[in-house]
Symmetry: C5
Subunit: 97 residues, 5 copies
């Protein structure tokens, strides 16, 4: 799972049936780590069963976890989903805990 | 899943039987994120059950999701597929939603 | 699996039911390798069934392994978990073993 | 799946039984994309049920897809395999299709 | 699968029960490819059912393949394992095969 921010939404009229009825959000990973910063990574498109809004911090899961989160039985044509909307996160520098 | 653009096609006469009858598209990830840009990533080869054309924006899924999208029963020798053809996407800068 | 350090924690009130009752830790990969250093990678959010504290070195597993570690039956909406708290690690330079 | 070139072979006398009888090829991803080039990625070692030769362009699949391609029933200790030998590929610049 | 070198070992007293009895090796990917070199990647921690020593070249597999290699039935809290100890590998420059 990763911590990300919703930066947009994707619309596709022509899609596999399993994707009908799911909002598809574009989520960018947040680099919560110490310096030096990690290189940016290409955003993920995640189905959203949680109702997240653009700008919110979310938790995204992949693979079977995403299908379970969307209510599928495992045979589902998606593999990334929002599994939580983040209230807050706290980070500590090494040794400062 | 990721947002990509179809940049080409691959032909292979000698291939495992499960790949017969599927177009194999070369898809490059789009960097929809904020600056700084993410480094480019090596393109993915995805089976295409949707009829996407070169130049179109598509949504690509991996693993079991791809096999389900291609109508397989899960025992299928492919693990990336086009699951949607994108009409549009909208991106918002952080805080501008 | 990777060797990481716990650098923080995430709280989410709105989350899929499967995540209830799990602490969600932010874990940064340690670069244990030879020079030159590997580029930093974006931290992972992992469920923690082990009781790791911020600053501790942990072992993180992905996918089904993570679900098994958290006591799930495989149909579980998470895919990263702490599977061990590291006592120590020893590294040898190439050829010095 | 990705488009790669066979750049070598690996021999291992001591290996898990499931790998017996499979050639193990070293495959490097081809960067078929637009400029700027993607960073190189570490080569993959793939089982080869297709009889690919060094220097040939191949299609490599991961995970269950690779096990299916090698004739396994899914309980197989490998997760990358050559699934096709590429005759040709055609790439179009964005907008030139 | 990837070609790596064992660079160390990890000890964890507090770990999920499935990891008991497995040595946990730190393995760094070898860049067997052509120039330019690939960026280094963060080392992997792999269970070792093969008895590899520090400094040896090994083949590492992920996911279900790793669990099968370790004798698990698939419900096993690990996802990376040494599946072979490399005798030798041969690499050819493009076109020199």
């Amino acid at each position: 799972m990763f911590l990300g921010r919703v930066i947009g939404e994707v619309w596709a009229t022509r899609k596999v049936a399993d994707l009908e009825g799911h909002r598809l959000l574009v989520v960018e990973a947040l680099d919560a780590g110490d310096d030096p910063a990690a290189p940016m990574v290409t955003p993920v498109v995640a189905a959203d069963p949680m109702g997240a809004g653009v700008g919110e911090e979310v938790l995204v899961a992949f693979g079977k976890a995403a299908r379970v989160a969307c209510g599928g039985d495992g045979d589902y044509a998606l593999e990334a989903a929002v599994v939580g909307i983040v209230d807050s996160h706290q980070l500590a520098k090494e040794g400062s805990s």
